[in-house]
Symmetry: C2
Subunit: 200 residues, 2 copies
């Protein structure tokens, strides 16, 4: 059983999660995460205007591992195919972070949101996991139609957000916001009896 | 008595308004407003990166009427001094719009928010009136600490927002958002018996 502590309930019926926002305790060290991210971004820059990204998981044998999964879902392979840790990350704190999840991840990326920018309001196909690496109280998720504002703390834990609801994220601070974002390979199983997201 | 229809209540005690968001029915024509704004912006461009502005009210005899009030509050004259309609706007639909308010305005400006940008999270010194000229369902106000998301409709009415609460606005759409924003000269009187913002 995967232990998800639901923080914000959902009104959706039959959605991929049992809540709008839930926490999965990982106990990662936020400082080590930030240091690992700084070291990585010195070697591999973030690309794409505003939605700046770097891929942490790849398809086996990819020729463009750092950026291949960083396009819109309609322009890339099925998300679950990006399932291997980028070989260059072996032995780094990112590998430890990935191993701390109680289920496999897919299409994990670093997503940076520049100061005073926001994403288009949209829905994703699946729920998403977020680990905040650099953030502030001024960089919330906004579930526009649900009237919910949620700030993911950089506390070394993962937050499961039901991003199949209409949402955006914004950064009203002066510094960049940096999140590790991934799909959870248990998504499709979350509503079964065996592996349901536990509601606490 | 000024008739404010409170839409979102407030928990603040002794604040400048009796609610977080209220509507003041003006019955303006949204199309005429948009047309007047388009004509104006062809003559006078918006300036300032991200928080792009154009002043509609000026100090008497200003040498820089269109932009003088468009800096941070700490860098301009007291806001209430920007109280005269910019002479070039006489006879336009803006003059009609200003006259439709049941109280005087000050420091009225056009504020544009570019696609996929947001303001810094902040508090203002006073409540603000907003008339949406161009907007979408994806461009809400976010009261970050109050967990309230509010979308000002472009319906020809004014919305009073208690912007002394921590807030921002974001534009998660692909088109520019354009609002007429002003201070209400009844702010200081709003909590008196004579001119209290009426709670409906």
């Amino acid at each position: 059983m995967i232990d998800v502590k639901w923080i914000v309930p959902t009104s959706a019926v039959g959605g991929p999660t049992n809540g709008l926002v839930g926490r999965i305790d990982l106990g990662l060290d936020p400082d080590l995460l930030a240091t690992a991210a700084d070291a990585l971004l010195m070697r591999h820059p973030l690309i794409f205007d505003q939605t700046r990204q770097l891929a942490l998981q790849v398809r086996p044998g990819s020729h463009d591992p750092w950026y291949e999964s960083c396009y819109q879902e309609k322009d890339i392979a099925p998300e679950t195919e990006y399932s291997e840790l980028n070989p260059e990350l072996r032995g780094t704190y990112f590998e430890e972070a990935f191993d701390s999840f109680p289920f496999p991840l897919f299409r994990a990326r670093l997503l940076a949101l520049d100061a005073r920018t926001c994403y288009s309001v949209h829905r994703d196909d699946t729920a998403r996991l977020h680990v905040a690496i650099k953030t502030s109280e001024h960089a919330p998720f906004v579930f526009v139609e649900r009237n919910e504002v949620f700030r993911v703390p950089a506390d070394g834990n993962a937050y499961l957000l039901d991003t199949t609801e209409v949402h955006t994220a914004m950064n009203g601070a002066r510094e960049l916001r940096l999140h590790l974002v991934a799909g959870a390979a248990w998504d499709a199983m979350a509503m079964t009896d065996e592996l349901g997201g536990q509601s606490n």
